[in-house]
Structures are given as structure tokens and as C-alpha cells.
Amino acid sequence: MVTYLLRRILTLVPLLIGITLITFTVIHLAPGAPVEMQLDMNPKVSAESRERLRKFYGLDKPLHVQYVAWLGKLAKLDFGQSFAPDNRPVLDKIKERIPVTLRLNIIALILEFALAIPIGVYAATHRDTLADKGITIFVFIGFAVPTFWLALLLMYLFGVKLGWLPISGLQSLGYEKLSWWGQLWDQAKHLVMPIGVATFGSLAGLSRYMRSNMLEVIRQDYITTARAKGLSERVVIYRHALRNALLPVITLLGFSLPALIGGSVIFETIFAIPGMGQLFYQGVMARDYPLVMGILVIGAFLTLVGNLVADVCYALADPRIRHGQK
């Protein structure tokens, strides 16, 4: 187990370098450079000013030189300075956004699992009934409806017409003056719509997955045995079947690790939530290479770690895998 882990961790390094090399090249291939994105079509800008900025950002050097310089900094965990006019360290910009996205995604993830697993189990145990079909339709509507459209409709209903919920942002104006409870309540109200929309959209995947796992497990011999022993249906389903059907979900949780910091551009933009999705999108639009690379590296790293953690947890949870390895 230990050597296996070590080997996996060692392979992470070349993998990460490979990923950065490819993304670095691809980003620089996209038309438009940071300087141009800032200055194009502005007659006040002369060729000299443009050259001045290019030099300032180090864009006058050949691509491989830029890459090596960037990688050298990264080795010291320095993500460099943003190319945006604020010229702040990329890490500061990311740090400022991560808590928002993380909080939102953790709540949404908990809700998603808390809802999708029971839904999947229920649909499996009531297979082909009206309830199963109703659930299927419901979760697929969530999957198919465009986020921005649903968000706007909800905003209009709850924000403009009924006035129950704030429309966008994370806090009301005058938030500072509220009591501790008032602040908590204010924040909660702001989160209802974004989290509701995010959760609704993600129910389909997990609940369908859960349903088919469950159906598969129910067909197994040991379930028949359990029933033959005369155990109640409740015990059969929740103790014997569910535990086994939940195993693959561990893998899904591992995959969710990078998603926790990767915000969704669409709903962050619609709800004016200053999260990672917005930051990344703005970075891409402005061709802010260091920022984009920084976020991608963190994302790639978390994906690799997530996979590793999922594999390890899987082994820990499932004795068949643990023992089968020897």
C-alpha cells in the first residue's frame, strides 16, 4: 500500500508538468495577447506604449523562455503577477475568491448528495412506478433547463414580484450594521437562489447513478439471501444493499474535489457572486496568462489529488479491493 502510494505521488510530478506545458502553449496560441486586449482600437495608444507594456510583461521573449521562467517561479510556489492593470500577485487574487466559491460549493455538494442519494434509492426500489417516472422527469428538467434562464425567472418571481429574496450579490447594503444573527440571516437569504439553482441542476447525474447502482445491487445473490433469511425490507435495502451501492459514490466524491474550487461562470455571473468562475472567465477574456495558468494548475493539481484520494478511500472502504491487491 505504501509503495503504491509513493509511486502514485511520484507520477504526479511529470503529469503536472505535462499538463502545464500543454495548457501554456494552448493559451498562448489563442488569438489576442494581453496587451492587445487592453489597448486594441484605442487611438490614444501608440506603438511605443504597446511595446513598453509588452516588455513590462515579458511578452517580448520567445515562448519557451517565458515558459521556463514561469515554471521556475512555480517551483517556488510563486504564481507570478497578474497581467491586469492592478498587477497584483495571482495568488492574492485567487485567495480572495476561494472562500466564496468554496462555501457555496460545499453547501451545494452536501445538498446534492443529501437529496440525490435518497431520490436514487427511492426510484430504484419503486422502479417503473409513477413515482419513479415523475422523479426522472423532475431531475431531468433540472438537468436540461438553462441555468441563466431559470435564475432570471426565479429572480423575477422572488426578487422583483414578491420581494422575498435579494436578487444578487452576497450581502445587502448596510450589512455591517446588522447584528450577528442578522448578518447570518442576510447571507442565508442571498444564498438561497444560487444554491437552489446549482443543486437542482446537478441532481440528475448523481440520482440516476445511484438508481442504477442500487438496481444492480438488488439483483445480487446476497440480497436474495438476506430476504430469504426473513429480514425486513428496510434492513435489506438500507443495511445490505445501500452500503454496497454507495461504494462507487466515493469515486464521485473524489472527482468533486477540483469542482469545489471551480465555480460556474454562468451562475456566478448571473447572481453577481465574486467566485472563481468569474475570476477565471475574466482572466481568459483579458488574456491574463499568469492568472489563467495559476487557476488551471491548482485545478489540475486538485484533480490528480482527488483521483488519488478516491482510489485510496475506495480501497479502505471496500475489503474486496484491499485484499485483492496482494
Binding site: M41, K44, V45, A84, N87, E96, I167, G174, G275
Partner: protein
Amino acid sequence: MMNRLLFCLVLAVCCPLVSCSTSEPPAQQQLKREPGTPARGDAFILGSIGEPSNLIPLLSTDSASHDVSGYVFNGLVKYDRDLNLVGDLAESWVTSPDGLVITFSLRRGVKWHDGAEFTARDVLYTYRVTVDPATPTAYAEDFKQVKSVEAPDAYTVRVTYKQAFAPALASWGVAILPSHLLEGKDIMKSPLSRKPVGTGPYVLKEWVAGQKLVLEAFDDYFESAPFISRLIYRIIPDSSTMYMEMKAGGIDMMGLSPVQFARQTDTQRFKSRFNKFRYPAFSYTYLGYNLRNPLFADKRVRQALTSAISKDEIIQGVLLGMGQVAKGPYKPGTWAWNPTVKDYGYNPERAAQLLAEAGWTKKNSEGILVRDGRPFRFTILTNQGNEQRLKAAQIIQQRLKAVGIDVRIRVIEWASFITNFIDKRNFEAVLLGWTLGQDPDIFDVWHSSKTGAKELNFIGYRNKEVDRLIEEGRSTFDQEARKRCYWRIQEILAEDQPYTFLYVPDALPAVSARFRGIDPGPIGLMHNFIKWYVPKAEQVY
């Protein structure tokens, strides 16, 4: 600060809040509430699509940064309500008879937000840091013609130019920076980029990253302390969300789209809570022809294209009538705009006749004009994300089809549009827009020396007389003489039709009705913001 971003292309959704103007009094301005008595207090809440990047205006090019820093800093001069240059930090100025020396007398007793006094030293510093090759700024060009800047005493600044240059005076509208906080330090690392110290009517109090910026009234402001106590920019990246926020009372002002203005806000409820304003914006939309392409070399062909397009129909279809026909590169009502320019209007017969004169006489089986065996066919390129331009292109497509011209439309993402098509001159026709500055100098877009790589005369327009007139117009301070140049240029452009000038859209802002003292003028709404107030009884924040 608006005069900074002179010509930048009107991007996807332009926010025509600040720079708007007209000669006639703005249409819809009967305010529905009693004026009440001026009182201090309350807050004015604005939505901003983007987050400012750097509040030292010298270092940023985005409009969000310039909007905010416009309330924090002052220039030596500014444009007033009626678009005249007046003193701001300068009390007055004298231009030498040959136009080479401008001497500014500075206002005395002006305080920086930290209490230090404003003097000529600050002006000298601002000039030096701008032209310093180590400063990565986009604005060094403003001062390129300057030979020297001196300060004979603490309240006088003398600028000497290499040659007389009319836009020079307006270029001193740049934000003056505090030398006592910046001199001898690296401006790129200055904390002032997130915590600016200026001389303006508002002081930045708080900046919550990605969410909002809060500005507070500066009681020692040299003109007079503003009535509105706080100015809050909320960052709302989506314009639909912003519109909902306005309806729910979350923001106090935004620029509406024509549909929102004409239909969605035409309710009693909305009208009782908001005042809507309407006046021509400082921009125009055009169809530009690549003059290097033999297809468009003949000016009769270009005249024919213009005659075959119904501009009124485009204004109705795209702007719901909220705009006016453009005949040249100036905003109707400004002094440089020539009202007598000939416009043939929509006239398909004239178009057919002109095309026939240019040799396009036969039509093929599809009804497309053919000359030397080649059909009259071209592609209009426009940028992604601008619904109005796409619709205008489609209307043009229909009209040109009627006279036998086959038009295709291609929509391209902005960065790719510029690098792969505009910069490489790889286009036949483009549908784009320009934002106009207050100074009528159009050197960068129309002078034949500006056809090089990355330069803005990308259609390749060359006309010796226009070149001469542009040079003449920028080398004199005499408005009458300048006017003669620009009026003549418009006549030549109307004849040459290098662009088909399409329309000047209206700016359509709505402002919460609790704000009084709004005085719409040719420059727009915000020019007297420090005089706006909310009567005590109606204050919300």
C-alpha cells in the same frame, strides 16, 4: 476622465451612462416629483458590469476604473455641461498667440483627501511619471508634443509645445496625481491603486473585492461638498441581473436598452419610481468597406450601397426608433457636426443606376449582379455579443439583395476579429461602431498615415484633401477655423462614402425619482452630480 477614452470601439453592451449629449433639450425629462429642499445624506447606488482594475487612472484602460476614479481625481481642465472646456484644478489659462505655450493658473487652497495642499508640484509629477519610459501606461501619447513643462511658482504651470496642437488643452484633463505620496516611489507598487488619494468630490472608503466600492463625500471639496453622502458601485456582471436589481430598487441608475426603455419599463409603477432620459449618445455605428478590395474601389459603388440601405428602417428595427441617422463621424448638434451634408436617403433606383454606371448591368439566374463573369458578393463581419449590430447587418443583407448584391454575414469573437481580420486587413466589409470624444480631431481614424499595422484607418482611406484639413484642424485653437475644416471633411466623406454611416443611438438612462437637481445637458447627466440631492423625507440609506 471621459475625454480619455476618446474613440474606443463601442463594445458588446455599451453602457451609455456618462458620456451623452445633445443640442436640443433632452426629450423625456419632466420630473414627476416636487423638487423639495436640498438636503445632505442618502446614497446613490450604481451597477458596474466590470470591477475596476486600478484606481490610478494613468495605469488602467477599463471604463470601470475610469468611472470610479473620475469621482476621486480632477484634471486641470474639464468639459462643462455644454461641452466647453473650463477650468477644474486650473482657475484659468492663457494660450500664447502662436499656440505654442499654455500657461495655467492653478486654484489655490485645494486639498488632497489626506489634507495636504495641491500645488504645481503635483502637475509636474503627473507629467513626468506619464512620459517616463518605465511607466507602463497607455497615455504617454497625450504628452508627446510637449517640449517642456515648468512651474515658475507653486500656482503656475507653463507648458511649451513643439508645434501648435489643438487637442493639447483637453489632454490636461488627465487626473492629477498626488506627488507627495508617489514621488520617488514605484507607481506600479503603490497602494494608491486600491486606495486612491485625490482632490475629487468623493473619497474611496471601502472596496470589497468583486462586490462593491463605497465612496464617501469629501467635505472639503473645492467646489462645494456634495449633497449625496455616499456613492456605491455594486459589481453586477450581467446586464439582465442589473435590470432586475433596478426594478427591485437595488440600484438607482442604469442605461436601458431600447426594448427596456420602450416596452418593459412603460408601466405606471416604473414611471412613478424612475425618471427616464433620452438623448443622442457619443457614438455611431457604421458599415466600413475595405478600400483595398477592387470591389469597393469605385466610389459610385459605395454610393450605390449607401443608397440601397434604408437607415431609417435600421433605426426602427434595431433601436425601436431611438436613434438618428448618421451622415458623418460627428454627433448631431455638436459644433463640428455639419447639418448641411448631402444625404441621398434610401433610393434603390439611384443605387441601381450608379451600379450600372460602374459596370454592374447584368444579373445572373439568381438575380445577383454580374460583371466580367463574377457575381457581386461580399461578407459583412461583425463582432460577437452585439445583437444590435447583427440585426443591422441582417436588414442590410435584405436591402442589398433587392438591388442584386449577395451579402453574407459572419460573426466573430472579438479577439479573433481584431487579430485575424482587422489587423491582417482580411475583410471585405465590417459593421462596427466608434465612441466619440469631445474634441473633433479625427486624425487617428481618417488620416492616410494611420493605415499601418494595428492603426485605426484599417479600411485604408486615403484622400489628400482630407489629410490636409485634418492637419489644419488640429493645429489651430480657433474654433471657427477648425469648424471650417471639419465641415468640409464631412462633405468629402459624404461624397466618398468610405463608410456607410448608419446611426447615432440614443443613450437611455433611468434614474431613481428620489434624486433631484438633475440637469441634463449636451454632455449627459453626471456633470453636476455634486448638486444632486434627495429631500430628507425620501432618503432611504
